[in-house]
């Protein structure tokens, strides 16, 4: 456990080195926030009332929490593990006394932490200053929202980790990564809230792990999901986090048996 915590801190420090990159990310997230807020507010004005349970302040909260969490949750994936599988460096990870999945998870949690503090929250505050935004309605929402964000980071990591491991069997996983990114981007509730989807698309989204990566924490923090519903929103995330982590372990073990590294 102590090792895990040390790795989290190392990940935090590693990514906090690039301050200019954090500022750049925050700027870009904010520009997209402005554009998306304008579009969704125009849609609300056109509909007259709330759409799918979102009124103007909660829609603004949806937009800015989304932009704030975009850098925190690793939606677009990572290539580090895939590259290490391809070069054979993954063998070194296997030799270490920590489980590779846990080690990479720790690093990713650290990355998420610095991105939330250095990039996400400033963007959120900017949005809150310039728009009329709904804050989490109660202390319960704040607390469960924080847990939900943490789970979202884990779900996104665990899913991407499995995708990365496919490199054990496939020469090039770029196509699969791209497919994951495109479906994920659409279904996680980054562009538009999942409740705005037509029925069939919403059903597909709700059966996938993607809303657990963004929509669920946003729903709690924007105050669209309150009371007992919070339990089920977080419960779904726990289910996906656990199943994807277990799947990752299974695939990792299978890959380890398949791995052949040359040289000495």
């Amino acid at each position: 456990m102590k090792t895990f915590w040390l790795l989290v801190r190392a990940g935090f420090r590693r990514h906090s080195t690039y301050r200019l990159a954090l500022l750049a990310g925050m700027t870009t997230n904010s520009v997209f926030g402005f554009i998306r807020a304008s579009i969704l507010l125009a849609a609300l004005a056109s509909a007259g009332t709330a759409i799918g349970g979102y009124d103007a302040p909660t829609t603004i909260a949806f937009v800015w929490w989304g932009q704030a969490l975009l850098g925190t949750v690793n939606l677009w994936g990572f290539a580090e593990v895939k590259d290490r599988v391809r070069t054979g460096d993954i063998a070194v990870d296997f030799l270490r006394p920590v489980n590779p999945q846990m080690a990479y998870l720790a690093g990713d949690l650290g990355r998420a932490g610095i991105n939330l503090v250095g990039r996400g929250l400033p963007a959120l505050l900017l949005g809150a200053l310039l728009f009329d935004m709904a804050w989490p309605p109660s202390a319960v929402s704040w607390a469960s929202g924080a847990v939900s964000v943490l789970l979202a980071v884990v779900v996104a990591f665990a899913g991407n980790f499995v995708i990365n491991l496919l490199a054990f069997w496939l020469v090039e996983i770029r196509g699969i990564t791209l497919l994951w990114m495109i479906t994920g981007g659409l279904l996680c509730g980054l562009y538009l809230p999942v409740p705005w989807f037509p029925d069939w698309l919403r059903t597909i989204a709700n059966w996938s792990p993607f809303p657990s990566m963004l929509q669920n924490p946003i729903d709690i923090l924007a105050g669209r999901v309150v009371g007992v519903d919070i339990v089920s929103a977080v419960g779904v995330q726990v289910f996906w986090a656990a199943s994807l982590l277990v799947l990752g372990q299974v695939v990792l073990r299978a890959g380890r048996r398949r791995l052949e590294v040359q040289g000495g």
Binding site: T28, I35, A42, F197
Partner: protein, 271 residues
């Protein structure tokens, strides 16, 4: 000294581009996957428009057909620009690896070399999504066709591509200063493309002014579309659509300045 004709002068670029294109076709499966990927990106972008219109009938003064036309024009221009110069995005990586110096010692202009360093044929996927959207929009919309309409469409696609290319080039020039902060420029390249896809009426005035006069992406799709469909918008009169080449020219002026500043600033990787 013998007269050098234009065709002779352009020959190295033709050869370079042809070789880039051939290289991409070598790995057939990978190439097909990449194309399918960019088709997916185009479809996902379209899904965003479509889902909104699933909830409302009019967005920012445009109905679905009009919004589809704006979407199509901006995506067409963006994917063309992305195909030709989108790989200027890679510049920070070249700078960090010290590979830019290698370009400097070759007997062709730096920008021309970087532009021809790749021809991202995989972007035809997104391009084809845009073309289908454009065809559907133009056939279903209520348009009084004339030679002017056709000229306007061609003009806006050409100018739109020029505007996005200018944004990529300006971003490239700024990379010489930013390096680690490469993502800054995404705000107006990819952000600009996102803004260009929208009815400009959704924006509050300061943002609208920004996307018209500072980063002129309003000229890419919305202003021409309003003119083609003859939609009433007091802030975008029909004649404004004929000024898109002017907007492209201004954008290129700024891009050239950024590029010049950046390349002058560059001191080399040493060694």
């Amino acid at each position: 000294m013998a007269e050098v004709t234009l065709s002779q002068r352009l020959r190295p670029y033709r050869v370079l581009l042809a070789s880039r294109a051939r290289a991409q076709m070598q790995y057939r499966a990978s190439f097909v996957t990449d194309i399918l990927g960019t088709v997916g990106v185009g479809l996902a972008e379209f899904a965003e428009v479509w889902v909104i219109f699933h909830n409302v009938d009019v967005l920012g003064g445009l109905d679905f057909t009009a919004a589809l036309l704006v979407f199509a024009l901006s995506n067409l221009a963006f994917s063309l620009a992305d195909m030709f110069v989108g790989h200027l995005d890679q510049l920070p990586r070249y700078i960090r690896a010290g590979q830019v110096d290698a370009f400097y010692v070759r007997p062709l202009p730096l920008l021309a070399q970087l532009m021809t360093s790749d021809l991202s044929l995989r972007r035809v996927g997104r391009l084809s999504v845009a073309l289908v959207a454009l065809t559907v929009a133009l056939t279903t919309a209520d348009i009084t066709w004339s030679a002017e309409t056709v000229a306007l469409i061609v003009l806006s696609v050409v100018s739109g591509t020029a505007i996005f290319s200018a944004l990529f080039t300006a971003a490239g020039g700024l990379q010489f200063f930013l390096v680690d902060g490469a993502e800054f420029t995404n705000a107006f390249t990819y952000g600009g493309s996102y803004a260009a896809q929208q009815s400009q009426q959704v924006f509050p005035d300061p943002l609208r002014i920004f996307w018209t006069f500072v980063v002129p992406t309003a000229f890419v799709a919305y202003i021409p579309a309003v003119a083609i469909l003859d939609i009433e918008d007091p802030l975008a009169p029909t004649w404004l659509a004929w000024l898109t080449p002017l907007a492209a020219l201004l954008a290129w002026g700024i891009a050239a300045a950024c590029w010049r500043l950046g390349t002058r600033h560059y001191q080399g990787a040493g060694g």
